[in-house]
Amino acid sequence: MYISLTNTPDEAEPDRQSAPRGARTVSSTVVTLGIVSLLTDISSESVAAILPLYITGVLGLSTIAFGVLDGLYQGVSAIVRIAGGYASDRLDQPKWVAFTGYALAAVARVGLLFASGFAAITAVVTADRIGKGIRTAPRDALITASSEPGSLGRAFGVHRMLDNIGAALGPLIAFVILLVVPEGFHIVFTASLAFALIGVLVLGLVVPNVRTRPAPGAVVRRHTRRPRFDWRRIWSGRMRRVLAAAGILGVLTIGDGFVYLVLQARSDFAAQWFPLLYVGTNVAFLAFAVPLGKLADRVGRGRVFVGGHLALLGAYVVAALAVEDLVATVMCLVFLGAFYAATDGVLAALAAEATTPQTRATGIAAAQTVVALSRFVSAAGFGVLWFAVGREPAMIVVAVLLAVAVPVAALVLRPLLSTTGRAVS
């Protein structure tokens, strides 16, 4: 059975309160999910921003061990992500699977208030990342189920914009607290818990329990036999193309950390503002999220996803060439923000398009996992290159490879390049 995406919202969302009529509006569910993400991001980013200071300044420990473990958690998060997507699809309960993830992160915040040692902090951070892994794919499946297929790009754009507002506000709130009360780390932890709780509550109470599976009604569905989960939907046909394109481009996405390091090494401006660079990227991301999401709806998600990597290419080139410091730094941040805006939510929309409602959350999770793992490989590979040939030459090598990979990825994604959700077979 294959149900066209075009029919999903009305069938899958019988209890929706405000229908997203036309392409002008975004479902209130999407906005609510965006607000939940905003609150949760304030919560997690406020703590993440001060954690290195806390560990070294208050606990009196070196952050070496913390850094070594960092990569491991990323791996755990990737595996948990697939599990979260699969659970969401099998149980047909994306809201409550996502809720579990958000709730886990909130409970971990309670631990922060009482944690005093490094091991306790590590446990809290791990729980937070696992929670993030669990919730991401079911939440994106909810966004898909609550949106018109023709405006899915815009819906993800709105969600990612709100999400990034939270990510920009979190560190700001944390640093303002520490500015007023220099030793007030526990105030930041308390604020973090408060925002996480409100986020979880809004999700639990306000977001409707949207089912992704098309069925005539909830009562009938309970008695229908659960269909077998079709793994072929995840790695064959159109999804295989999505995963392949994401992987090809992902292994050439070295991560903005390296771009910042290149900038910092040669620019006094970037060195002085090093801690602020990611905030600049965040701001650019949130500014471009909606326009690029809309563009994806108009010209095709595949096009915008692949084309977004040209912005990444732009960032590499500007970082590698001798452009004036301030100009280079600002341009890099704008390019990186545009890259994330053109690829993050758009990839979820692309994966949603290429899967069935029964396999959607797993499909989205698979695409995001491929991106995470390939970028991890990329970062490691770039490290090798950095030391082998030097900073700027390494950047140029990756830029050239990316320039080749973009048309290749476009070729792989060709059947999906211009799909906009309206004209699905």
Partner: protein, 343 residues
């Protein structure tokens, strides 16, 4: 529950949650004001330096002068301390200069290194890429080494790295030693995951430091040559070195149990001539760059049990005879100024 009731509940919980945060904040703010205004247990002067042989350190006694540079006479380390106006997270001092690393609080915290002259005037200042970790001045006072942690962020996937850089007292930037040539068994090598930290100067042209490989967790002692811009690996598992005043031994922290987050470091002494390594009788884990009180005793900072942000400086015989003793309460980052240096 209808929509109205749901939003009313959310509003109520928000008010309680954010209200509690505000109360916690106001209490902490008032508390902090009271604590900072409270008289410290120590005597204060308006200068960080006194004269003669002394130990200069970061004062962590709660109350006025917390986080400021302080000093005690070498002859009476447990006695009254002089607390100055300078605030540093990490420091090193000679009789002529003080290297001070600090975090500058702001909407976004920044990190700086400043070198002060003996009478407290800022001579040099430059930004650090990350959180201050270690600093050392060369014995002749012509060089400054700094190590800072460049911590990653969720978007910045580099994870973590150290930035260990050298400068001359004249202001010349000798750069991050990561860009120098690493010689392993005499051959140039460039493992990608290498990080350097913990410089200790031999003289005005050479130094020891640690190279660590984050993938394997292995560390090596390296000897750095400033003119040639090379680093040569020596003994394995000798981390965060500190050269004794007589130049014959290196005190360091050695991994004796665990790894990653549960790593346990024990102070140890490496005899340069014989290569012999002696673990010292300290059961607690230490994480500091050791300082030599004299040729027989080492010093290191240790977090104070049950008091966040407070630390003590402990002393231990370098030959392993005897237990650690508490030398200076409420202190961190000790730096010993001896007479031959002052000379």
């Amino acid at each position: 529950m209808n929509d109205r009731a749901k939003w009313a509940l959310i509003a109520a919980v928000s008010v309680v949650a954010l209200g509690t945060t505000t109360v916690v904040g106001v209490v902490a703010w008032a508390d902090q004001g009271a604590r900072l205004a409270a008289p410290s247990e120590v005597v204060t002067t308006d200068r960080w330096s006194t004269q003669g042989e002394r130990i200069v350190f970061r004062n962590t006694a709660p109350g006025e002068g917390y986080g400021h540079v302080a000093s005690v006479p070498l002859a009476d380390p447990g006695g009254a301390r002089a607390v100055g106006d300078l605030a540093c997270d990490r420091l090193d001092a000679t009789s002529e200069a003080l290297s001070c690393l600090r975090s500058v609080r702001g909407i976004v915290p920044t990190y700086t290194a400043t070198v002060y002259t003996g009478d407290g005037h800022a001579l040099l200042e430059w930004p650090l890429a990350g959180i201050p970790s270690r600093t050392r001045l060369s014995p002749g006072g012509s060089l400054i080494a700094t190590t800072s942690f460049v911590a990653g962020h969720s978007y910045a996937t580099v994870g973590f790295s150290t930035d260990t850089s050298l400068r001359t007292i004249g202001g010349e930037d000798l750069g991050n030693i990561e860009e120098w040539t690493l010689l392993v068994d005499g051959e140039p090598a460039a493992p990608v995951d290498r990080n350097y930290w913990g410089v200790t100067f031999i003289d005005e042209t050479t130094f020891y430091a640690t190279v660590g490989f984050s993938a394997s967790g292995v560390t090596h002692l390296v000897r750095g040559d400033i003119a040639a811009r090379t680093l040569t690996t020596l003994a394995a598992n000798v981390e965060c070195p500190s050269l004794s005043p007589d130049g014959s031994r290196i005190a360091f922290k050695r991994v004796t149990a665990g790894s990653g987050a549960n790593v346990h470091w024990t102070p140890a002494v490496y005899d340069i001539a014989t290569g012999r390594i002696d673990l010292l009788p300290e059961t607690r884990g230490i994480d500091d760059q050791i300082e030599w009180l004299d040729d027989d005793v080492i010093l290191y900072g240790m977090p104070r049990e049950g008091a966040a942000g407070d630390t003590d400086v402990w002393a231990l015989a370098a030959d392993g005879a005897g237990e650690p003793t508490l030398l200076i309460e409420h202190a961190w980052s000790p730096s010993v100024i001896r007479e031959e240096e002052s000379g």
